[in-house]
């Protein structure tokens, strides 16, 4: 059996995830061995960053990749979680770990509040509104809303998480904590994808009208997915606050949202393995090429364009999902017009009738 076939068969199987996480669990030990042999970049810090981004991107994947909602404001919920942890910890003295559910809950509530009015908007309007929400949250945090967020300087001095008397104070212990959460996220979202609810989301992404026709409560499913994704983003925020220990509004800007968006799309929308790979590539490479600050972003921008042209389905495309034949395309390409008899030409009426440029 060729490697290609082997990969196609197993790239989304649970076994691969188990192998991956076993490897990740052994990695610090391997790195220690490597260090003894002489090496010494702050690999663990980088891996911690990747782990948090992976958890965050997995939660965005539920909304963007599996449900197909164009959501580009995920850092807003991440920020809610991180600030909830920071405020409860520094002002009220809660142990960091106890703030985890609260952060998740608050982010979920924020997600619900945001999603309720806008969930019905057409794709790219949803996108622009969520961009607006990231900006509103950042401005609110910078302006020291409720006198709790510490303004532009943010909050510092967040304590280390303690579980059963064990203090997670070294990068290595942090690493285990973060990657345990990421592993849990993978497990959760994998099971979710294969549940009744996950299949409903899949259907909605493929064809909303048909899904509604089959008795799926489309609005409710979308809302649930959005809220659940926001909840996980909030919990990732707790981990971030506990890892970095100083948070400031500028870490939650639009740009970070774009990176997350790109992780999901470039990795493969709806594909958990793809999202993991995307986090490694985008966050890891960014960290490694830190010295080439803007040249690296130049490359990143061109890579996004090139990927969309040459491999729009992402690095590890989702498998078993529906073929997305029903999304409204941009203008049909000329060659598509020629086989109009097949009926795959975009139908102007589908998106509500257009009467642009009226006299």
């Amino acid at each position: 059996m060729s490697i290609r076939k082997l990969w196609d068969r197993h790239s989304h199987s649970p076994a691969l995830f188990i192998v991956f996480f076993v490897f990740m669990a052994l990695l610090p030990t391997l790195l220690d061995l490597g260090k003894a042999a002489g090496g010494g970049i702050a690999w663990l810090d980088m891996l911690n960053k990747i782990g948090i981004s992976a958890a965050l991107a997995l939660s965005l994947n539920l909304i963007l990749g599996q449900t197909g909602l164009f959501h580009m404001g995920h850092t807003a919920f991440f920020a809610v979680g991180a600030y909830a942890t920071a405020i409860l910890n520094t002002l009220y003295g809660w142990p960091v770990f106890h703030t985890l559910p609260v952060a998740g809950l608050l982010a979920a509530l924020a997600g619900l509040a945001v999603a309720l009015p806008i969930i019905r908007l057409r794709g790219d309007y949803l996108l622009i509104v969520t961009v607006g929400i990231v900006e509103i949250v950042r401005i609110a945090l910078t302006n020291n809303i409720f006198d709790l967020t510490g303004g532009a300087n943010g909050i510092y001095g967040i304590s280390r998480p303690v579980i059963f008397g064990m203090v997670f104070n070294t990068p290595k212990l942090q690493y285990y904590l973060i990657w345990a959460f990421t592993a849990f996220s993978v497990f959760f979202f994998y099971r979710l994808e294969h549940s009744r609810f996950g299949r409903a989301l899949c259907f909605i992404k493929a064809d909303e009208i048909a899904a509604a026709g089959c008795g799926i409560n489309v609005a409710l499913c979308k809302l649930t997915a959005f809220t659940l994704g926001a909840c996980f983003a909030g919990m990732a925020g707790t981990l971030y606050a506990a890892n970095i220990r100083t948070i400031e509004p500028s870490s939650f800007n639009f740009y970070e949202s774009v990176i997350l968006f790109a992780i999901v799309i470039l990795g493969g929308a709806g594909s958990i393995a793809g999202v993991l790979l995307g986090s490694f590539l985008l966050i890891g490479l960014q960290d490694l090429f830190r010295d080439f600050q803007s040249a690296r972003m130049l490359f990143f921008g061109s890579a996004m364009v090139a990927m969309m042209i040459f491999r729009p389905q992402g690095l590890i495309p989702r498998q078993g999902g529906p073929k997305l034949a029903c999304e409204i395309p941009l203008l049909p390409a000329p060659e598509q017009l020629e086989d109009a008899s097949k009926g795959d030409v975009s139908d102007g009426k589908k998106d509500g009738g257009r009467d642009a440029f009226p006299a």
Partner: protein, 301 residues
């Protein structure tokens, strides 16, 4: 009263700029249904090109300031328009007919590319336009002394908008653009070259955006490589406010948003001025998704 007049005139000047940028968004969206995220960066590019032309040739020293400014405006508009054409060819045309999300991501990538290219080329610090190009005079209205420059800005953007309106509604090419916006497939059957109409759109839109960039440089004096994001997002808000895909709507929306922003920053809180624009965006999408003059954007579920 005087304060109010100041804010109103300021809002008109700013609103004219928003409207010019919004036209680029709305025309592209009207035809391709694509949010051209890179448009804000083309606007910034216009500001930088204008500055380069203005300073590197020492134009302002040799010939009359007004004439020099006009030259700089025309050249920056032309150059930005060419970049816009190239952008469409490279980043958007190969994606026709594919998933809309792909086009959005491609637009984001192009935006990141332009932003960082400008940062590499011009540096990360803000640059300053040479002062004294716009006339220093003021005019008196109802006892308030208002800078003439604001009215010049507004008048110039209105002039450009009138030109565009005339072009879209009174010329054959304009008719072709309208036809493609209504139904590209039928337009193609009627013998309209849809590709060249789209190219035309990506010529006119960035030209207007480039003009807005030079105007921002002249009026506010300071430009930064990342200002396109804020201006672009607000201009897009303006386009939605007026009704996306609708050209008079973009003009109206831009001017309204400029007024809302200056007045709210004067009477509410300056720190929240950007948030107000986005709050307007969300409110308009929730309560009147068609915009003031436009089409439906929310699908019923």
């Amino acid at each position: 009263m005087e304060e109010l007049l100041h804010q109103l005139s300021n809002g008109l000047a700013l609103g004219g700029i928003y409207a010019l940028i919004a036209l680029g968004y709305t025309m592209v969206y009207g035809i391709l249904r694509l949010i051209n995220f890179a448009h804000g960066d083309l606007f910034t590019l216009g500001a930088y090109l204008g500055l380069t032309l203005l300073t590197s040739f020492g134009l302002a020293g040799h010939i009359q300031a007004g004439f020099a400014t006009a030259l700089v405006l025309i050249f920056s508009m032309g150059l930005v328009a060419l970049v816009g054409l190239a952008l469409e060819r490279v980043a958007y045309r190969p994606l026709r007919g594919s998933d809309r999300l792909c086009a959005v991501v491609s637009a984001l990538g192009a935006s990141i590319f332009f932003q960082n290219a400008m940062m590499l080329f011009y540096g990360a610090r803000s640059l300053v336009y040479p002062p004294g190009i716009l006339p220093d005079a003021s005019i008196h209205i109802f006892g308030a002394e208002l800078p003439l420059a604001r009215f010049l800005m507004f008048a110039f953007s209105v002039l450009l908008m009138c030109l565009l309106y005339w072009f879209i509604h009174k010329t054959r090419l304009g008719a072709a653009i309208r036809a493609v916006a209504i139904d590209p497939n039928t337009a193609r059957l009627m013998g309209i070259n849809v590709d060249s109409v789209i190219s035309l759109i990506f010529f006119i839109g960035p030209a207007l955006g480039g003009a807005a960039g030079v105007m921002v440089g002249l009026y506010y004096g300071q430009i930064t490589y990342d200002m396109g994001f804020g201006f672009g997002l607000k201009a897009f808000t303006a386009a939605i406010l007026g009704g996306i895909g609708n050209i008079p709507g973009a003009m109206l929306g831009g001017i309204l948003l400029g007024l809302i922003e200056t007045i709210s920053s004067a009477y509410l809180s300056i720190a929240w001025k950007d948030a107000v624009a986005f709050a307007v965006l969300i409110l308009i999408l929730v309560f009147r998704p068609t915009g003031l003059l436009g089409e439906r954007v929310a699908d019923k579920i």
